[in-house]
Symmetry: C2
Subunit: 238 residues, 2 copies
């Protein structure tokens, strides 16, 4: 089984290196960046015709144009698996743009190169078989399970609602605090150090991820309205 | 040496239990709450006349009236040490209201019953000898050092500026997020769990501490203005 990873940014490189422990994996980077020797290099999008499974690790906002370009190239029985941090929108696009014969699985690994540095065992992954062709759903469910990930099967909308008020709010707070340029302090409390860790971890991810998390998740608008109200109510105490 | 702790709330009880490991310690609680057997009970404020050292562990907003009531009762050479989370205001009050003959030390242990649960060694304490009578400054500096605390000597204003942008902002974020009633989630990221820990830890402290941190630290107003601006700028992206 030949696996391709589309998008070798911070998350894609990390994800490819995990898969490469047990599969033959190649990566495609539009910016032509180099990556680890264990990963094959896809130099041209035309090569996607050779792969059995394609993981989408591009920016959420790039999913539509990526699918439009690679859809006509894919093997008839290829399986496409996205890893986006929102689920409703990419699932809609995959269903609309991929050939009927292709398998489709939606995933969201709830970790990245920072939180998964010590390994992915015990870390959560959201999983939803959208078009379960040729047993691809069971197969990848089994692979993630064997890797020790904790699999949560839920609909794209369930995911987006829950993610808006967990990952979405965490990234929002991280970016707000980044604006304040929090300094190290000799008198830092434990709570303040945790706040700094949140800023560091969320802002280590590309700005595009933050923007896309807010723009492409239909539930983040409500989260932002509630956050704004909570801030105003708390400010009003003084 | 007989030590009294004025205010046996969440922090006072914790602080008294630490001191009681090597000193004879009694506590006074206006609400008459009971506490650990290793701590003597002061039933009436008149008894403060018997103590050599008085730690103030009352609410910041109560310091003025507490000092007004106990100042006339204190031994001539008593040493009064506050533990407030702001420093400019209590130092001003101690200098104004305590007899000239009393020693005065300002401290802020940058930890509490949660962060200090596993012991206070390695944890920071802010320390400032305001009126160093009878060697009290060196003595208590030595005691805190022997307990393993990391001592940071700084002026009350230096403390308040740094604390506004560390402890002050952490408590503010904690209280804002408390309003949103963040739920546990099976798909929680590591960052979200840290956010929940901050809410839990800051909101475990009494609401009065949060209000006083914001009201009695002259630098928190600027922190709140900057935080509000950062939130608005980030909201404006969407």
């Amino acid at each position: 089984m030949k696996i391709a990873v589309y998008g070798m940014g911070r998350f894609g490189s990390f994800w490819a290196s995990i898969l490469a422990r047990q599969f033959s994996v190649s990566g495609f980077s539009r910016s032509g960046r180099s990556f680890s020797e264990s990963i094959g290099i896809i130099r041209d999008e035309a090569e996607f015709a050779e792969f059995d499974v394609v993981f989408l690790c591009c920016a959420i906002s790039a999913v539509e144009e990526v699918l439009e370009r690679i859809s006509p190239l894919l093997k008839q029985d290829a399986v496409v698996i996205d890893t986006c941090s929102v689920k409703v929108e990419p699932v809609r696009l995959m269903k609309r743009l991929l050939p009927e014969s292709c398998g489709i699985i939606a995933t969201h690994p709830m970790f990245g190169p920072d939180s998964g540095r010590a390994g992915v065992a015990g870390l959560p992954i959201v999983y939803y078989p959208v078009r379960d062709t040729g047993g691809c759903g069971d197969f990848w469910h089994g692979v993630f399970k064997d890797m020790g990930m904790v699999i949560h099967e839920m609909t794209p909308d369930q995911h987006d609602e829950e993610a808006a008020f967990t990952q979405g709010i965490t990234h929002f707070i991280g970016r707000v605090l980044k604006e304040l340029d929090l300094k190290d302090s000799s008198i830092a409390t434990l709570g303040y150090k945790k706040l700094q860790e949140i800023v560091e971890q969320t802002c280590n991810d590309p700005l595009q991820l933050f923007l896309d998390l807010q723009r492409y998740n239909p539930h983040t608008a409500e989260m932002r309205i509630r956050l704004k109200k909570a801030l105003h109510d708390t400010m009003a105490l003084f």
